[in-house]
Symmetry: C2
Subunit: 172 residues, 2 copies
DNA sequence: AATTTTAGTCAGGGGGACCTGATTAAAATG
DNA sequence: CATTTTAATCAGGTCCCCCTGACTAAAATT
């Protein structure tokens, strides 16, 4: 049974981290004139981009199913991404009902660079600390995956695959 | 100079953490029928609530200034919070132009409980790991504060105070 | 007393994440 | 061949964050 106060301290820091990194992003975007730098969130358009980065050439329906979205929402996000030139739509030749979504070079780049960047704040950590952090976050993330799977056993593991596989490609 | 690969691993885990915790929250909210459980984000209404939790009884203008919002946006969020019974508005007697915003008991409770909760995923960590995590996040957060201050030196430290002071109250 | 500054309000808008309902076109199936 | 299922689309809506512009009421300044 871990010490409750240690847990609280860590929880606080984690929350603080969430807040501060969020604000740092926002501030950077606003003051640094990086207007078109959409921060690749884990929802909506960002989710689509990320999924395609792992498995390109999916149909809209496939995307919707994987991401637990309605086909209409998916279509909306895809269309927005098309406008931003990050993905393309083309009719499938084998089944002309289907629309295949593919990343453009820009889209692939966007997904990769935004996520593969090593944040500057990691420079302050020693190698030992980096190892510790990685170990700890691995544990935490596993717990979160379990939590998600427990709540939605119907689609067990689907989300984890989308996320984890992709991150493995990028970082390992 | 820290090892670049260790940095990348940690960065990946951190990003993964962001994604997974976000999804876990979302999934919990959706499937667990906790509809009215607004997750106290670090924007909009949540930001207001958080700030008031640290310094109650501010005027709308004060809030706007501290949070780097326009007075109109601030008014909007405050009004939404009033509807949710989390804050109250009252005219200042000393200066009748001003509107003082105060947390209701429910508001204070909401701010506190939502943030003071120790996430279940921390149970998997040992005391040693909790200490390590706290140390590491303290460093990281400091760096992020510096980053924010560098970009917006005009209001240096303001944000940090709002966040850090409040978290100190909660967790230390 | 007249003017300017300050705190708020209303109106309107842009963009984002989602959703339901109704409809069409193409494929599958009886 | 007629019907049903499937992949998409359009239309319209809800809620969120956040901004500009125009306008009042009260306080501060001249």
């Amino acid at each position: 049974m871990p010490n409750i106060n240690k847990q609280k301290s860590a929880a606080g820091k984690l929350i603080e981290f969430g807040m501060v990194s969020h604000t740092a992003d926002e501030v950077a975007r606003r003051y640094h004139a990086e207007q078109d730098k959409h921060p690749l969130r884990f929802q909506g358009q960002g989710k689509i981009l990320l999924t395609l980065a792992q498995a390109d050439g999916l149909s809209q329906k496939e995307l919707a199913t994987r991401l637990n979205l309605t086909v209409q929402s998916t279509a909306e996000f895809v269309n927005k991404l098309v406008k931003k030139q990050l993905v393309t739509k083309e009719k499938s030749t084998s089944d002309r009902r289907k629309t295949i979504i593919r990343l453009t070079d820009l889209g692939r780049e966007t997904a990769a660079t935004e996520t593969a960047q090593v944040p500057a704040y990691l420079d302050s950590l020693t190698d030992t600390e980096l190892d510790q952090l990685t170990t700890i976050l691995t544990k935490i993330n596993h717990n979160l995956y379990d939590e998600i799977d427990t709540i939605t056993p119907d689609q067990s593991g689907k989300f984890q695959q989308v996320v984890a596989d992709r991150l493995r490609d990028w970082f390992l």
